[in-house]
């Protein structure tokens, strides 16, 4: 009995040792030299495999970078820190200080938007939006169930009184919220200047109609266009901004305060 156990152990150990030797030999023969640059880049990348760069994994992006086939500002999740580190390794220059941010083009919280019904269905924006456009009167505004918050991989969005608030330190401009919002009211913009302003309304209804639905919607009165010298402009019953010209705006306070429904917001 005892000898049987001993023989078993010896046999298995022998087999194991034999195959270990074979493997060691083969692995030496078939060694693949990895690119050390790829390893380095991969260490810098956040490693969350979010896919915002257009590659399926951080590893593939790193490989493309090492070959010089991908732009170095592809990694949205890593933000500026990663961009600078990559630029350091790859010996390229970057423009400093550009920060991209998700922006919500609706400013109507739960107390500002009027309701047309009581909604008892599934508590997601997608479901509510499909149910005859949701419980609110406005066909364009935020539904407030927080699909964007749930989609955000970085916990940058909180819903405050039925309206998403974006934490600009946490936001990496990965655009997951942009994709998921059924109302398409979130966009990602490059914050190029301290004067960065946006219109927090998406309603294309005529002024009177917008006013009926919400107290803070853009009524397309055109005052902003007048005061800003056409940096703001009204199109399709909604004010728009030429973001690239905002750096030159002179009377930004006036534009903001003169807006009758206070729907122009400053990012600061």
């Amino acid at each position: 009995m005892n000898s049987n156990v001993a023989i078993s152990i010896l046999t298995m150990a022998g087999l194991g040792f034999f195959f270990a030797l074979v493997l060691a030999f083969v692995s030496r023969k078939l060694k693949v030299k990895g690119n050390p640059l790829v390893e380095k880049i991969e260490e810098i990348l956040p490693g969350v495999n979010c896919g915002a760069c257009g590659f399926t994994s951080c590893r593939q992006y790193a490989e493309a970078l090492a070959k010089g086939q991908a732009p170095i500002d592809g990694c949205k999740a890593g933000g500026n820190a990663v961009l600078c580190a990559l630029a350091g390794i790859l010996g390229k220059e970057v423009k400093e200080g550009l920060k991209k941010l998700a922006i919500v083009h609706c400013g109507a919280d739960a107390s500002s938007r009027k309701k047309k019904a009581i909604y008892n269905g599934i508590k997601t924006c997608k479901a509510a939006g499909n149910m005859m456009g949701g419980e609110i009167v406005c066909r364009y505004g935020c539904l407030g169930y927080g699909d964007c918050r749930d989609a955000c991989p970085f916990d940058a969005i909180t819903i405050i009184n039925g309206l998403p608030k974006i934490d600009k330190n946490k936001c990496t401009a990965c655009e997951k919220c942009v994709i998921v919002c059924p109302r398409n009211i979130i966009s990602v913009e490059e914050i190029t200047t301290k004067n960065f302003m946006y219109v927090s309304c998406s309603s294309l209804e005529k002024g009177a109609q917008t006013r009926k639905a919400c107290s803070v919607g853009c009524i397309a009165c055109g005052l902003c266009q007048k005061f800003s010298g056409s940096i703001f402009f009204v199109k399709d019953n909604l004010a728009h901004v030429q973001y690239n010209k905002l750096a030159d705006i002179k009377n930004k306070d006036e534009v903001i305060t003169k807006c009758p429904t206070k729907c122009i917001t400053l990012v600061n």
Binding site: T11, G16, V26
Partner: protein, 194 residues
């Protein structure tokens, strides 16, 4: 003699197909059957491992385990053999075919735990094959596995363009197709009366 070998090959690859009759190796059968070229690569890798595994395990079983009176160690010993072979195939593939290596991804190391290969080696012992028969059995099983994978990949490529009802999409329709394939392969049953 030769007739016997041919019969073993046909039995292993068609009438007693390891995937569609014994339902072994379903993981890669579902996982790597989305594209025909990937399926072919996986089939080739598995066939290679199966053939080598059949040879090596036959030698080890008869010259080591039987000799020392330890046939009960066959499971552990066979697993060692298979795991080592898969490692070798993986290194080989990484060196000579990086695209295929990347395409197969996690399914390549998973050949280690592919029950089709362990099943093959155990059948081989159970049926008392001699060395040549074992080799043919290994090649045949590999061919059968590749055949099943290719048929499945072909169907699934066509399926991409089909309007599958929502509840059947994904794994559900794949498993249903696997069932139909298994049924149709039963039609080959009369080919060999053994």
């Amino acid at each position: 003699m030769i007739l016997n070998l041919i019969l073993i090959f046909i039995a292993a690859s068609i009438t007693h197909n390891i995937v569609l009759t014994y339902f072994l190796g379903i993981c890669p059968f579902i996982g790597v059957s989305k594209k025909i070229d990937q399926a072919l690569g996986m089939g080739a890798a598995t066939t290679f491992v199966m053939t080598l595994a059949a040879m090596v395990t036959w030698l080890i079983y008869h010259f080591v385990l039987i000799r020392f009176g330890l046939p009960f160690l066959q499971y552990a010993a066979f697993i060692i053999v298979i795991a080592s072979l898969v490692q070798i195939v993986e290194m080989f593939m990484r060196k000579f075919s990086p695209p295929l290596y990347r395409a197969l991804g996690i399914y390549l190391p998973l050949i280690t735990t592919n029950c089709a290969i362990l099943g093959l080696t155990l059948f081989m012992v159970m049926r008392d094959y001699n060395f040549l028969e074992s080799v043919v059995f290994g090649v045949g099983s590999g061919a059968g596995f590749t055949l099943a994978l290719l048929i499945m990949a072909g169907i699934r490529e066509d399926l991409e363009c089909c309007d599958v009802p929502k509840i059947f999409q994904g794994a559900a329709i794949t498993l249903i197709i696997a069932g139909f394939l298994a049924l149709s392969f039963m039609g080959f049953g009369g080919l060999i009366s053994k």
